[in-house]
């Protein structure tokens, strides 16, 4: 069987001793940073990204995937223990998870999250292994017109990454695309918007954008008023869920896994959608509806499983189409490119060891996550007590060193300042940074495919509508735009976000 051969190749790559070690280091570092309050998975991955550039491609990407899972689990821990979710998908976990912690059941909540994540991760890894190769074969048929329409759809759908005004999210996406045009033009080599600075010929480094928008801007927000932070929930006892708990979480975990695996494939924020949908579904099917919002374990297990399954299957568009489904995947694209690999349908045939190794390491990463987190939970709880006065200088210093080490280019460090300040002002005005980052990464792809499609069609713009796949994708994009703009649906979105606050 093909699949078994491929998985065997994958596991023989992923189980190489250095890969297991760095996967472990990645999970450990990811959890350690992700557990810090106010730092979500995207910021964690952005900050730790430069560390991975020193390794071989396979090892680096496996480590990065480990960092991502660790960061997600760390974020859930923070959400449960001190009600400070690092990103919108963990906000759902905080609803009931923190209530459980306040009732002295933090251990059960953390265990439910870990077990749910593990089951979801295992199932979603299989989905990824089965679904990715055929999808990649389809993607190889795509011409520039289809690619343009697909990227365009991805850009529009990423409006869902932001809460609040769809108009602002759209403007942030477009601004990201615009910033992506800085640097030498791909077809003519003309330097654009470089202000005669040689350092800008290669474009703005996306690590600077990510670190500035997510790291520096976040620190400035936290320094706005320096009140004492929320006290940490006391000691975590009784980690193992009771038999009653175990019976109650099976259904939510399985439903969450299914939902997450399906929704995670959507370009643009599938994981956020997955956790919210899972929470809504569990609340609807539960016989104890009144317990939701007051510490229902189903409200932790379901969304956490959905979130993790979606995190896994969001690798599908990345590995088959080269399309990042959310900001962390955008960072992964950057990592691929740094290692000289263009993510897309060719990876599976050109770099089979890397492709299957990465998939196998996802499962290994999930195993390590459970092994690491259940015994070490006491240490993570202690990490929550690190004072912010130590934390933020550390983030700034590591951001400066990490970004500088990318190309030994001081300009990249100045760019952090610029994007930090720009991001700070825009965030204060209610614009969220995630869509901008996605636009920044997808922008060059949009332009390249738009221009190539027009050259091939001899300047005939109807090519996007006469090719069936491209036309369908564009229709979907327009539909997504209309849905985002409709006030009725937007109001419902706000309801979903503020429910049970």
């Amino acid at each position: 069987m093909d699949l078994l051969d491929n998985l065997a190749l994958g596991f023989s790559t992923a189980l190489l001793i250095q890969n297991v070690v760095y996967c472990f280091v990645g999970v450990l570092l990811g959890t350690a940073v992700g557990v810090l309050p106010g730092i979500g998975p995207t910021a964690t991955v952005a900050m730790l990204l430069p560390i991975t550039f020193n390794f071989e491609p396979v090892t680096a990407l496996i480590m990065l995937a480990g960092i991502y899972y660790g960061a997600q689990y760390g974020g859930s821990t923070t959400a449960i223990l001190i009600n400070l979710p690092g990103e919108s998908s963990a906000a759902v976990t905080a609803l009931d998870g923190h209530e459980m912690a306040r009732r002295g059941r933090a251990g059960a909540a953390l265990a439910a999250a870990a077990v749910g994540s593990f089951i979801a991760g295992t199932v979603a890894t299989v989905v990824l292994a089965v679904a990715a190769p055929p999808l990649a074969r389809v993607a190889l048929q795509f011409g520039p017109a289809e690619y343009f329409s697909l990227v365009f759809l991805g850009l529009i759908v990423s409006i869902s990454l932001a809460r609040g005004s769809a108009l602002k999210a759209l403007a942030m996406i477009a601004l990201g695309v615009l910033l992506g045009t800085v640097g030498q033009d791909i077809y003519t080599g003309t330097p654009r918007f470089t202000l005669d600075q040689r350092e800008l010929f290669g474009g703005i480094d996306f690590v600077s954008v990510a670190v500035g928008m997510f790291g520096v801007a976040e620190i400035l927000r936290n320094l706005e008023n320096e009140h004492a932070r929320t006290a940490v929930a006391g000691r975590v006892r009784n980690l193992w869920p009771t038999r009653e708990d175990r019976r109650r979480i099976i259904g939510p975990i399985l439903r969450g896994t299914g939902l997450g695996a399906a929704l995670g494939v959507l370009p643009g924020g599938g994981h956020v959608l997955a956790s919210f949908t899972s929470y809504a579904v569990e609340k609807r099917v539960s016989k104890r509806r009144e317990e939701f919002g007051h510490g229902a374990i189903e409200g932790v297990a379901g969304p956490e499983s959905a979130n993790n399954a979606a995190a896994q299957t969001s690798f599908i568009p990345l590995l088959t189409l080269g399309l990042p489904a959310h900001p962390v995947m955008a960072l992964m694209v950057g990592a691929f490119i740094v290692h000289g690999i263009t993510p897309g349908p060719n990876v599976i045939t050109d770099e089979p060891a890397l492709f299957w190794g990465l998939i196998a390491s996802m499962w290994i990463g999930n195993v390590l996550l459970v092994l690491l987190n259940l015994p070490l939970i006491g240490i993570w709880v202690r990490m929550l007590r690190i004072p912010y006065q130590v934390l933020f200088p550390m983030i700034i210093l590591f951001a400066a060193i990490g970004t500088y080490s990318l190309g030994f280019n001081a300009f990249d460090v100045y760019a952090i300042v610029f994007f930090g300040l720009l991001g700070y002002v825009l965030i204060k005005c209610g614009c969220e940074p995630a869509p901008l980052l996605l636009g920044f990464v997808l922008g060059p792809l949009t332009e390249e495919n738009l221009r190539r499609a027009l050259i091939i069609s001899r300047g005939d713009a109807t090519v996007f509508l006469t090719r069936p796949i491209s036309a369908v994708l564009l229709v979907l994009a327009v539909a997504a735009l209309i849905i985002a703009a409709l006030p009725a649906i937007r109001r419902r979105r706000e309801v979903v976000f503020t429910e049970e606050d």
């Binding site: 560390i51 020193n54 609040g164 005004s165 108009l167 602002k168 759209l170 403007a171 477009a174 601004l175 695309v177 615009l178 045009t181 033009d185 077809y187 003519t188 003309t190 654009r192 918007f193 520096v216 620190i219 400035l220 320094l223 706005e224 008023n225 320096e226 912010y388 006065q389 130590v390 933020f392 200088p393 550390m394 700034i396 210093l397 590591f398 400066a400 060193i401 500088y404 080490s405 030994f408 001081a410 300009f411 460090v413 100045y414 952090i416 300042v417 930090g420 300040l421 720009l422 002002v425 204060k428 005005c429 209610g430 614009c431 738009l450 221009r451 027009l454 050259i455 300047g459 713009a461």
Partner: protein
């Protein structure tokens, strides 16, 4: 949600108009080309105009029926300290070397908080500089000299 005139909306929209407009104006200086062979200026011009148009829409919406967002205070001290710290690092890491540049950067960064006392700042500086040196130079073999040429070494 209550909606009325909103300063953050107008500010955000203004930023979009400004940046979009600047890029659009700048792209007029590059060759625009034809639809068959778009020049380097065409795509940025298009996107720049879209950003500016969306910005204008946000401004108008902000004047008529904006989102009510609390803008909150601006921590000027933190903005200044962090900007200074990062710019200092970029300017001096090559000349001063890894250790002195890192130490000064951390020290400047700690000034961002009003709650950091001098003794604590020194302790944080020493600890973080040592940690960064171990992680990046010893562990990851980053090729930056520990002490740079400006210090005569």
């Amino acid at each position: 949600m209550k909606r009325s005139r909103s300063f953050p909306d107008v500010l955000a929209g203004g930023i979009f108009v400004l940046i979009g407009g600047a890029f659009a104006a700048g792209s007029l200086g590059y060759e625009l080309g034809t639809p068959l062979r778009m020049g380097p200026g065409a795509f940025p011009l298009l996107v720049g105009l879209i950003v500016a148009a969306l910005g204008l829409a946000i401004v108008i919406k902000g004047l008529v029926a904006g989102e009510l967002i609390e803008f909150g205070p601006i921590p000027w001290r933190a903005v200044a300290a962090i900007t200074a710290a990062l710019v200092f690092f970029g300017l001096t890491v090559r000349g001063l070397g890894f250790v002195p540049a890192s130490a000064v950067t951390v020290l400047l960064t700690t000034l961002a908080s009003t709650r950091v006392r001098p003794l604590m700042a020194v302790a944080v500086t020493a600890g973080l500089t040592a940690a960064a040196t171990v992680i990046f130079v010893v562990g990851l073999r980053l090729r930056i000299p520990l002490i740079g040429p400006w210090l005569g070494m």
